[in-house]
């Protein structure tokens, strides 16, 4: 009897920005904010940075602000080096952010202030998740879907899922391994460096890997 394959269902991820009421005009205030804001706010300024669609100079909002608004470029580089997806708990991410800021502050205790209007605004998001009505059962169907699905869906399944699934694997790889038995492809997709691509580039890299595998699976040699 043929094995029943669990289809992959694409979902859409949409966030609405909420201002926490807290802002920082210098590094000391940023540190206090990082220490006390909600986990949702830390998640927004680090993990959800990739929803922007454009890779800026640095890889999270704290680093971007430190580098561009305070011109503390060394700190911006230190903060950029933190991979938010490598932490299983947001509290561990908070500790690491604080460690880096504290280390910098102990070496350079008198950092400059941002211009009025250019302060750091601590935000968080409320999130709606909606099934897109797109279900796929094999690599060929997956390839078509991943090429054209909304960027918010790519973010949800590739970035956000890593934390949802315990910080190790994205939704696409999990499905490919468990439902399709394509372990190598799953690993290759999971190994894509999230920091080096914007969402559209991630789409292209995934599509290329899947297409290569689908072509190999379908190829018939003349005997």
């Amino acid at each position: 009897m043929a094995k029943i394959i669990k289809p992959f269902e694409f979902k859409l991820y949409t966030g609405l920005l909420r201002f926490t009421g807290r802002k920082a005009k210098n590094l000391h205030e940023l540190r206090e904010g990082i220490a006390t804001v909600s986990e949702d706010s830390l998640f927004h300024h680090t993990c959800q940075y990739f929803l922007k669609g454009t890779i800026l100079e640095y890889t999270n909002d704290f680093a971007q602000w430190a580098g561009e608004s305070l011109e503390e470029r060394a700190l911006a580089e230190h903060l950029s080096n933190i991979d938010p997806y490598s932490f299983l708990q947001i509290e561990d991410l908070r500790k690491e952010l604080l460690r880096v800021v504290d280390e910098y502050l102990s070496a350079f205790p008198g950092p400059r202030e941002a211009f009025p209007g250019d302060e750091f605004f601590f935000n968080e998001t409320v999130v709606l998740i909606v099934p897109l009505g797109i279900q796929v059962q094999n690599l060929a169907e997956f390839l078509m879907a991943v090429k054209y699905v909304d960027p918010g869906s790519l973010y949800y399944h590739f970035y956000e899922s890593k934390l949802r699934l315990g910080g190790r694997v994205n939704d696409f790889s999990a499905w490919m391994e468990t439902s399709l038995g394509k372990r190598e492809l799953a690993e290759r997709i999971n190994a894509i460096d999230p920091f080096m691509h914007n969402l559209e580039e991630i789409r292209n890299v995934i599509a290329d890997l899947v297409e290569q595998k689908a072509r190999l699976d379908m190829e018939v040699y003349n005997r």
Partner: protein
Amino acid sequence: MISQYESIAPKGDLHLLKRLGEKLAGKTFLHVNSTRVGGGVAEILQRMVPLLKGLGIEVRWEVIEGDEPFFTITKKIHNTLQGNPDHISEEMWAYHFEVNRRNAEKMDLEADAVFIHDPQPAPLVQFRKNGKWIWRCHIDASNPIKEVDEALRQYWGKFDAAVYSVAKFARSMAISEYIIPPSIDPLSEKNRALTEEEITEVSERLKIPRDKPIILQVSRFDYFKDPLGVIRAYQTVKKYNDCLLVLAGSPASDDPESEEVLRAVNEFSGDDPDIHILMLPAFSDKDINALQRMAQVVLQKSTKEGFGLTVSEAMWKGKPVIGGAVGGIPLQIVHGVTGFLVHSVEGAAFRIRQLLNSPSMAKIMGEKGREFVRANFLITRQIRDYLTLWYFLENPGRSIIEL
């Protein structure tokens, strides 16, 4: 109605609008502001109301009625909320409330969700009935005059939430504050696709030759839009690249300074035949659309700005935009990707030269800008955000909802 936006707006937004429409169909949604015509709020409501109706939502748009003294007071409130010093007496506050009370008697305030736009109708919240009440602030209220802020506090506390266009326009309040940027309608007269014949007709009627690259700024004649700085930037560019400058604005009856600024602009431009200063009548949407499509480079060199939606309008037409790094402009221009942010006349001149000398860079930036607007600043996204907020207020205590 929403189907008109298929193949224009992001599919995800349209999908979510349909799903939220199913959830909220039959519910009542009331918007209240202070004018039916003129200004960005009325412009977007005119387009938004029919779209909400098309989703099955019972939407109404009410406008408060007031006399001249009332609007003089609300103008003062508007200005002081933006930090301009002025005094509002006890009598003025009492009259502000009284006019709203009279409006509340005549208006049907029963609705499942009520959006009160800007401070003019804010006292209506004292007469709230059922539903969720949201204060929609379109201005920069981050540094209000203290006594005005304190006087208005009695109203803010009675709302369920406040909505600002940009985080930096917000300030800490006792209620939840959300950030929802404004938007443009790609199907409106100001933004719809134009034929080459339509563009030519406008250029001939406005006597704008098209044999040289056109640098354009569309804005009111206001010193905060730095029209003299734009002319100086053009004069610098002109030493290297033959080009033409168009400054297009409309008369602003509520701004006595505009005539003085226009006079200064005319004087400063001298007898240069390549500077075209256009005073367009109100509602010249198609002309503005055509001018933006004719231009090679669009400027919004403001030194103080609200959201500055003219930036998104130009980007939607595939034009690279050079903007002052103020207000909502940095949200629209990703520096070096969808345009350039500048901080001086010299910076503006340098970026204009770069774009005029590299049409391929201008083209790529224009394409990225259009895509950025498509993803972030179309009316479908704004309606999506309004309905998402409403849905979250109806389901309190949750930060993630799976529909």
